[in-house]
């Protein structure tokens, strides 16, 4: 049940009414109801993995308590390792088994041992990459005494399964999420309306921007061999926008829906394309994943390697980004994607500008020429790297890139010169414009401080754009991860 479906509307309206009218009296009632709704939502999406979700919740709840109550350091570590093995094991089995299985046989063949294999049919449980990271982060936080484990199984279950975020994040942290459900939530007009706004903007990003870009990019990527370099280059442009609009749109909807229940999820995108270097970009792109990797992979790794200074740091960054890439799926394309992003950091390490992250042209209306050229250069780099994200295999990606950088890059891109492309470009301009003017705000469409005419004018305009240019969409790119 995707957020942009009538099924979801039919689900969410009664759920909201019951939540705020019937189950509003205590936090326990609210949580019981949220858990029921979440289980219903998950079962509706795919009933087969409910047992897995329940098992994961039970095991992590138990281990969290055990880590907390054990005094002896060695035993605490054992409980943590069990948790790591359990969570990573689930991911490895369901997501990466065939990748390593196949790799093993290819290695045998490479060394001359003739062998054949049949890959196993393993279904990928919905949301597994998201909820396992969330529970793993929880155990590490408890181990590091960053958070106290909750003793209430109901609270913990809602933390794991809360339906707006179960399928594709944001990957929440216990410290941010659990305290919110330990208190009774009260309906506030401002938060509710802000949630609705964020949903509207997410919907626009998804079904207008992402889907129209997809309609142009898909045919190009699917049959790239017979197209000139100029068309392939434009294909990467539309794909880069599609990927961003798809996932940031999903995230805005998830965060907006949560707000309707009085729960604040973490920000997942902060207008990442308005960045002047790669470090800045990753601080604004899929924030819940990158901060996770920063805290649980990069920091420990760079700490261990601290005596190696720059080399240690570069190694830690590259490993972290290879894992960021690999998290997306069991394919060398994602490894290549992560590896390239890791490599892009190296000049920054030498320049000592690793942590420079700021809002571009803060307090001003337009960026300086220098800022603009840096943003464009960075965008082009990311857009070309996204070819690895989109391609089915590394050789396919390399072939695609090779064909871009050929003499046909100057050909007139006839095949896509049509009204649909033109309209999509205008829609992208509108999308980028709104994101630009709101780049200093808490989310892309936080327009509560504008006057009533601008606010309602925007709602009506976006509603009309949804009506005329929206395309139906059955899924989101990130559901496959």
């Amino acid at each position: 049940m995707v957020f942009n479906s009538f099924n979801f509307v039919a689900f969410i309206i009664p759920v909201l009414l019951l939540y705020w009218v019937v189950f509003k009296r205590t936090k326990t009632l609210q949580n019981i109801f949220l858990l029921l709704a979440s289980v219903f939502f998950y079962v509706w999406a795919d009933w087969r993995f409910l047992v897995l979700l329940v098992t994961s919740t039970l095991v992590n709840f138990y281990l969290g308590l055990k880590i907390h109550e054990t005094e002896e350091d060695r035993k605490r570590s054992i409980y943590l390792y069990l948790g790591v093995i359990f969570n990573v094991g689930l991911l490895l089995y369901f997501k990466y088994f065939n990748f390593f299985y196949q790799g093993f046989f290819e290695l045998l063949n490479f060394f001359g041992v003739e062998s054949s294999y049949n890959s196993l049919t393993i279904l990928l449980p919905l949301g597994i990459s998201f909820f396992t990271f969330q529970t793993l982060g929880y155990l590490i936080d408890v181990f590091n005494e960053e958070v106290e484990p909750t003793k209430d199984f109901l609270d913990f279950s809602v933390f794991v399964a809360f339906f707006p975020k179960i399928l594709s994040g944001p990957i929440e942290r216990a410290a941010g999420f659990i305290p919110q459900i330990q208190e009774k939530r009260v309906l506030t007009y401002n938060v509710f309306v802000d949630g609705l706004r964020q949903i509207l903007w997410g919907l626009f990003a998804k079904i207008v921007v992402a889907e129209n870009c997809a309609a142009i990019a898909n045919p190009i990527f699917n049959d790239y061999q017979d197209k000139p370099g100029s068309v392939l280059l434009l294909g990467t442009f539309f794909y880069a926008i599609q990927l961003y609009a798809d996932f940031s749109g999903y995230s805005n909807m998830a965060i907006g829906i949560s707000k309707l229940f009085g729960i604040q999820l973490m920000r997942n995108f902060a207008t990442p394309f308005f960045s002047t270097n790669i470090s800045d970009f990753w601080r604004k792109w899929h924030i819940s994943l990158t901060t996770w990797m920063l805290d649980y992979v990069f920091t420990p790794l760079s700490f261990i390697l601290r005596r190696h200074q720059k080399k240690g740091l570069i190694f830690s960054i590259v490993i972290t980004f290879v894992l960021v890439g690999f998290w997306h799926g069991a394919n060398w394309t994602f490894v290549a994607y992560g590896l390239l992003h890791g490599i892009y950091f190296i000049p920054l390490v030498y320049k000592g500008k690793m942590n420079s992250s700021e809002i571009v042209a803060k307090g001003k209306q337009i960026p300086s020429l220098k800022e603009l050229s840096k943003m464009i250069a960075l965008f082009i780099l990311i857009m070309l790297t996204d070819v690895f994200f989109r391609a089915n295999s590394v050789s396919h990606a390399l072939d695609y890139l090779k064909r871009i950088f050929s003499f046909s890059i100057v050909d007139v891109p006839n095949t896509i010169l049509n009204t649909t492309t033109l309209v999509t470009i205008v829609l992208i301009f509108f999308f980028v414009f709104i994101e630009w003017i709101n780049r200093e705000r808490k989310h892309d469409f936080e327009i509560n401080s504008y006057n009533i005419f601008i606010r309602w004018g925007s709602y009506i305009l976006i509603f009309l754009l949804l009506l005329f240019f929206g395309r139906s969409a059955e899924t989101f790119i990130y559901f496959q991860f």
């Binding site: 990069f298 760079s302 690793m354 942590n355």
Partner: protein, 79 residues
């Protein structure tokens, strides 16, 4: 060791790693407030502090470092 002495030593480490002294030592000071205090210089600062005070940090200590005050506390608990 007295807090003021620990502070002074830490301040010297910062100056030697960051190569400037445009910061004021107070308990609420964070890496964000200081120019050039990024992930790399952070690890260099940690290493230098370990050498200076003859102590060893654990990863768990690192997570507790929220500002200058907590850094000074962690150092004092180890010497």
């Amino acid at each position: 060791m007295e807090t003021s002495l620990v502070k002074e030593k830490v301040s010297n480490v910062l100056v030697s790693v960051l190569e400037h002294n445009n910061f004021e030592m107070h308990d609420e000071l964070t890496a964000k407030d200081v120019d050039g205090w990024d992930s790399l210089s952070h690890m260099m600062i940690i290493t230098k502090i370990e050498e200076h005070f003859g102590i060893k940090f654990k990863l768990r200590d690192l997570n507790k470092l929220k500002n200058m005050g907590s850094l000074i506390n962690v150092i004092q608990s180890k010497i």
